[in-house]
């Protein structure tokens, strides 16, 4: 039954959403470019020799931030904004009476957008290597596969967190403001601005109990070849998914009872 769902519904959704995304190729190129925060952070770190304090070489640090850029490109989620708009405008109503949870549509939309984004991310990486030829490396196949899996798990965690927040639309109508609150820890604790290893020890022990370091820091360290606990990191990612998924299902089921089909 699940394979049927994946094969037919998700595949068709993905195909249609990909066609839709190709209509917006210029926007997607701009979105990809707008995700270059890690490169700014790399510049700040290397120009101020901050990496010396955490024993990471310039090369490893530049690889880390390039990987952070890649992980971010393929795990960025905006479902809360789409769902909030659709919910307030009543667009979600026709989807609610179809035999497929509307979040599958958003899920496919995100995956399609990632596929569209991929060539642009490669072009940016190409330019990165032109300016930093010493950072060029080829990860081994095993690590590459694990990094792809880890990036996808990171995407799933973020998608579930945002979907849970999105479901709050059924109560608050402006759930995106809650997401903005979450954006602050995501920005600082995920490894986007600095590798988590650079945080003080007592802070780190707390951070690793939250889902944030598994969003960017862990997959970026894995892909860049920095020292990391692969089994521990992947297990934590899976654990967070297993915790968040039932929570999403519960909040979805309670929320739809509150749905008033505004605007329609």
């Amino acid at each position: 039954m699940i394979s049927n769902l994946i094969k037919r519904k998700i595949f068709t959704l993905l195909k249609v959403q990909y066609s839709n995304m190709l209509e917006y190729r210029v926007e997607i190129a701009l979105w990809a470019i707008s995700g270059i925060i890690p490169f700014f952070m790399l510049n700040i770190w290397t120009n101020n020799n901050l990496n010396e304090s955490i024993n990471i070489s310039d090369i490893m640090l530049s690889r880390y931030f390039l990987c952070a850029f890649f992980v971010r490109q393929f795990s960025v989620v905006w479902v809360v904004f789409s769902f909030e708009e659709d919910s307030l405008m009543g667009k979600v109503s026709p989807y609610l009476i179809q035999p497929l949870n509307p979040f599958f549509r958003y899920f496919a939309q995100h995956l399609a957008e990632q596929i569209t984004r991929f060539p642009f991310a490669l072009i940016i990486a190409f330019f990165f290597f032109i300016f930093n030829p010493e950072s060029i490396w080829i990860p081994n196949l095993g690590i590459l596969i694990l990094s792809i899996v880890s990036t996808f798990l990171s995407f799933l965690i973020q998608f579930l967190i945002q979907s849970i927040v999105a479901c709050l639309c059924f109560w608050t109508e402006k759930a995106s403001s809650i997401e903005r609150l979450l954006f602050i820890p995501t920005l600082f604790l995920s490894g986007l601005l600095a590798p988590v290893v650079s945080f003080p020890k007592y802070v780190k022990s707390w951070i690793y109990l939250t889902p944030f370091p598994y969003l960017i820091d862990f997959p970026a360290n894995l892909l860049s070849g920095n020292e990391t606990n692969i089994v521990g990191g992947l297990s934590m990612q899976i654990l967070w998914i297993l915790l968040l998924f039932p929570l999403f299902k519960k909040i979805w089921s309670e929320g739809t009872k509150k749905y008033t089909a505004m605007g329609s």
Binding site: R8, K9, F11, T12, L13, V16, S19, N20, E23, Y24, G90, K91, S93, P94, Y95, L96, I97, Q98, P99, L100, T256, K257, K258, Y259, T260, A261, S264
Partner: protein, 331 residues
């Protein structure tokens, strides 16, 4: 015997509405302390609808027609009472129930704006577990019925409102539902597009024996599609029955414009005992009760020299308009 497909008993729905006073004081007060009030928008209604019936829901804006449709299709949760649609509790949204129904809202769209409608049709087909061959067959059939076979490959944003509405209808009917909930399906369409849509719905009902629940502010939609109407007034049912009975009850008289050959005949007719609405030279308009039309016309034709006469039905909008502002109709 035709079985009931929709069974509604003592259904009520309340919404929490927040109130805000005007002015800065009201805004600040609203910021610190929200005042909400529970508003009962549907009040203890009961009705049944038989398989294959086309039922029109009539009512003024805000009367509760759309809320009823939304509860019937499982979009919103009822506060009290019970609903059974095709044997299912709609709000549980069981897959087999959802495969049996569709909801079309005139002002809302589900088609993907930047892609041709055919992409949305195939997407819906896969959501409803139709294989490609079956989907292709149904798209062909429905697009021919709706006369949009030439527009299938044009992006939705480039289609006219009428073409878009027809495409919405195709997307909503690709799984051949047995029950259609239509909320103002002809909203914003031109006269020809409205007529074509009505013709299509009649044909769909005839061919598939589908049950149709319809709300519309265009009386032509109601009169040409629905034999039965349910009038909703402030969340309660004010009339549930045959449309023609309601019309007879609401407009018991007809106006007849009589053109006499001479002004003297018009004067004689004016004084004959009929209720005269007005008289201009040799033209006189009289009011006659529906049940004495034949005998009255016989009398007029036998006793007066008549050049022409016109029987005017009162405008249906005017008649139905009376329903929208009244609480009860005992027919």
């Amino acid at each position: 015997m035709v079985k009931n497909i929709i069974d509604v008993k003592n259904l009520s729905k309340s919404f929490d509405i927040s109130y805000k006073e005007t002015g800065l004081k009201g805004t600040i007060k609203h910021f610190f302390r929200r005042q909400t009030k529970s508003l009962k928008v549907i009040k203890n209604i009961s009705f049944e609808i038989k398989e294959g019936e086309i039922v029109g829901f009539l009512g003024a804006n805000g009367a509760g027609k759309t809320t009823i449709l939304k509860m019937l299709c499982g979009l919103i949760y009822p506060s009290e009472g019970s609903i059974l649609v095709s044997g299912y509790l709609p709000f549980r949204r069981k897959e087999n129930f959802l495969k049996n129904i569709t909801l079309i809202m005139g002002q809302k769209q589900q088609l993907i704006w930047d892609l041709p409608p055919i992409e949305s049709f195939y997407l819906n087909a896969s959501i409803y577990d139709l294989d490609k061959f079956e989907a292709k067959k149904r798209i062909k059939k429905l697009s021919e019925m709706l006369e949009i076979d030439k527009e299938l490959f044009i992006p939705v944003r480039k289609l006219s409102l009428g073409q878009r509405m027809k495409s919405e209808l195709l997307a909503a009917l690709i799984h051949e539902p047995n029950i259609l909930f239509l909320d103002e399906p002809t909203l914003g369409l031109d006269i020809n597009a409205q007529r074509n849509l009505r013709k299509f719905l009649q044909k769909y009902n005839k061919e598939t024996n589908a049950t149709i629940c319809l709300t519309s502010h265009y009386m032509k939609d109601i009169t040409s599609l629905c034999k039965r109407v349910i009038c909703v007034h402030e969340g309660a049912i004010s009339y549930d029955g045959k449309l023609d009975l309601l019309l007879k009850k609401l407009s018991p008289v007809k106006e007849i414009l009589i053109v006499c050959r001479s002004e003297e005949d018009a004067i004689k007719l004016e004084n004959y005992g009929f209720t005269v609405k007005n008289k201009i030279k040799n033209e006189i308009t009289i009011k006659i009760e529906n049940n004495s039309i034949t005998s009255s016309l016989k009398t007029i034709l036998n006793n007066f020299d008549i050049e022409d006469l016109f029987i005017n039905e009162p405008p249906i909008d005017e008649v139905i308009g009376k329903v929208l502002i009244k609480k009860d109709y005992d027919i």
